[in-house]
């Protein structure tokens, strides 16, 4: 299972191709086969059968209209959260860090909650008020954390950043609880459903909208892997090897938060993917972020597609919140890997 060879780095190119190819194939297979499963069985050959028009091809309609958006949303959310988690863990030099650690998720939840309570009812570029407010909340939370950590115009210290994030998360959750408490029953019900996370998106428009910040984040992520290797030795050690630490922290914080904000606004706060997937990937490909980061994004996509498949089929027609499934499947699997592969 392991791809790391004792020969060292001369084989890095091959390991990279193997990693991206392997996890990419897994993600692609998940995207292709997950939409086939559901209350109505459909057939992949008939889905891509060009001999009849789309309007007459029921299988193709179910595949592309009813199920694929949800699968693509899972891929986008899972990939974004896992990559953001890997970046946060390296940046904060803390294996327990996740996209939730810095208050980005709590900010998104509060934004969405407020939009629900005030019955905000507007649509911008096909995105409705609740996800927009969620995205705004996540960016607001990031701005507060970043502002606090650089208040004295020095480089960000990871301890300051972590503490600020934990405090901000708690504060935002308290405000969120207060808003829920004063809200009426129907609003609270809607908010709780949102907070449990759901990938049941309406069509492709929300996915297209969420993919814009995700794409920007992906550009940021692309510059990071090698620098994150060095940053995980400490910011002093990284600086001594020629890393521009302040710039790296800026790029990492902003792109990881954009990715998290996009994911949370699309699906609500899906827990566990951001913390567990990077660790699973490290157990397989090793510590080098040039492998960990792309593998996390691809495996996160496949992982969440799989979890959502279980969530919507296991007690059909009732659909479970996907966050419950990620924890129930991911937790024991992670513990098993951790203890069977412990050195």
């Amino acid at each position: 299972m392991t791809l790391s060879l004792p020969g060292g780095r001369s084989d890095l190119r091959r390991r990279f191709a193997l990693t991206v190819g392997g996890f990419g194939a897994l993600a692609a297979a998940a995207c292709l086969f997950a939409p086939l499963v559901g209350s109505t069985r459909i057939d992949l050959a008939r889905v891509f059968d060009r001999s009849q028009p789309f309007s007459a091809n029921v299988d193709a309609q179910i595949f592309f209209v009813a199920r694929l958006p949800r699968v693509l949303a899972s891929a986008l959310v899972g990939g974004s959260l896992a990559a953001a988690g890997a970046v946060f863990q390296a940046l904060l030099r803390n294996p327990l860090a996740s996209p939730d650690t810095l208050g980005v998720s709590a900010g998104a939840a509060l934004g969405a909650m407020i939009a629900i309570v005030v019955h905000a009812d507007f649509v911008v570029l096909g995105v409705s008020a609740v996800p927009l407010a969620g995205f705004a909340g996540s960016i607001g939370a990031l701005a507060v954390v970043y502002g606090l950590s650089t208040a004295r115009q020095r480089g960000t210290s990871t301890v300051t950043l972590l503490l600020a994030g934990v405090v901000l998360s708690a504060l935002l959750s308290a405000v969120n609880a207060f808003v829920q408490y004063v809200a009426d029953f129907a609003e609270t019900y809607q908010a709780v459903r949102w907070l449990l996370g759901s990938l049941d998106v309406a069509g492709y428009a929300p996915i297209a909208a969420a993919s814009v910040p995700t794409a920007i984040a992906a550009v940021g992520f692309a510059t990071l892997p090698r620098v994150l290797n060095l940053m995980s030795l400490g910011s002093d050690a990284a600086a001594a090897r020629g890393v521009d630490v302040a710039r790296t922290e800026r790029i990492a914080l902003v792109s990881a938060s954009l990715a998290t904000g996009a994911a949370v606004s699309l699906a609500g706060p899906v827990s566990f993917v951001g913390i567990i997937v990077p660790h699973l990937v490290r157990l397989i490909v090793g510590a080098d972020h040039r492998l960990v980061l792309p593998a996390s994004a691809l495996f996160g996509a496949a992982f969440l597609i799989g979890c959502d498949l279980v969530a919507r089929t296991i007690i059909a027609p009732v659909q479970l919140p996907v966050g419950i499934v990620t924890a129930i499947i991911g937790g024991p699997f992670f513990l098993w890997l951790l203890f069977t592969r412990a050195r």
Binding site: G8, R9, Q153, T160, N229, D236, A239, A240, G242, A246
Partner: protein, 274 residues
């Protein structure tokens, strides 16, 4: 080759955008470097000696460019270090800290190859030449056999030798060492000391070594700067600086300084608090 010219520093608000490490308790104190001047000549090992809080580590960071002097300047072959881009600086000077921890399980070879970072273009992978340089550095520190071990499983002395190898792989002319033996037991202290002297002799590596260990310093340093409260108390060739009078003035310790009959070199024997 490295000149420190009338350098002063205090941990006040730094210039915007400039990187300053925080979080460690020793950085919270208003520790100061005050009007310090000295020169590091090519091929020498210069010891920065002084008691805790005398400004050794701060001075080393000023030399390495992770801190910028408030007054005065540090020049490398005549170029102001503050004006050099980080990557160029890292090609000229490498740092060996007191301790190195890896958050994730990097192998020894991974860690040493990280020293190649300032030599690689963005997105460039380490090539065969980089691998050869890394293996050469591992061989020079006697750690070639450890190359595929996870770094976190090594002993303290092995870790420090590997970190020195990573600094060598950086192919810098100057090595800055911050208390490299402070967390090691006696045998490893001697081993690292011998390794540094051998690297200096065989490769001509220039070193600046911050330490409070007088006997380590007398064993390997060619020159010495003694610091007290951020100021230079004494400087010059090791034999001239290591005197009972200087040790009393800088460390508040009554000590005998003698050429030890068996070691054959100047040895400091602390007698009691001065």
């Amino acid at each position: 080759m490295v000149r420190i010219d009338n350098v002063s520093f205090s941990y006040g608000p730094a210039k915007a955008g400039h990187y300053v490490r925080r979080g460690a308790i020793d950085d919270m104190r208003p520790s100061v470097v005050d009007g310090v001047s000295f020169e590091v000549r090519r091929g020498t090992i210069l010891g920065l000696l002084g008691p805790n809080g005398s400004g050794k580590t701060t001075l080393l960071r000023l030399v390495g460019g992770t801190l910028t002097p408030k007054v005065g300047r540090v020049t490398l072959d005549g170029v102001d270090v503050a004006r050099l881009p980080r990557r160029a600086l890292a090609r000229a000077m490498a740092v060996v800290p007191q301790e190195t921890r890896t958050t994730f399980e990097f192998s020894v070879l991974d860690l040493v190859l990280m020293g190649r970072y300032p030599h690689l273009r963005p997105f460039e992978l380490e090539g065969p030449a980089d691998l050869a340089i890394a293996r050469d550095a591992l061989a020079a520190t006697g750690t070639l056999a450890l190359e595929s071990r996870p770094f976190s499983t090594l002993s303290g002395g092995e870790k420090q030798r590997v970190v020195i190898a990573a600094a060598l792989a950086q192919a810098a002319d100057v090595l800055l060492l911050d208390e490299p033996t402070a967390s090691l037991d006696l045998r490893f202290q001697i081993e690292i000391g011998a390794l540094l002297r051998r690297l200096n002799r065989d490769r001509g590596t220039t070193m600046v070594l911050a330490t409070h260990d007088l006997n380590l310093a007398t064993a390997i340093c060619t020159d010495m700067v003694m610091l007290r409260a951020g100021r230079v108390a004494a400087s010059g060739p090791t034999a001239d600086v290591v005197t009972a009078a200087n040790i009393r003035a800088v460390f508040d310790v009554d000590a005998d300084v003698q050429v030890h009959p068996r070691a054959g070199r100047v040895t400091v024997i602390p007698i009691g608090a001065g």
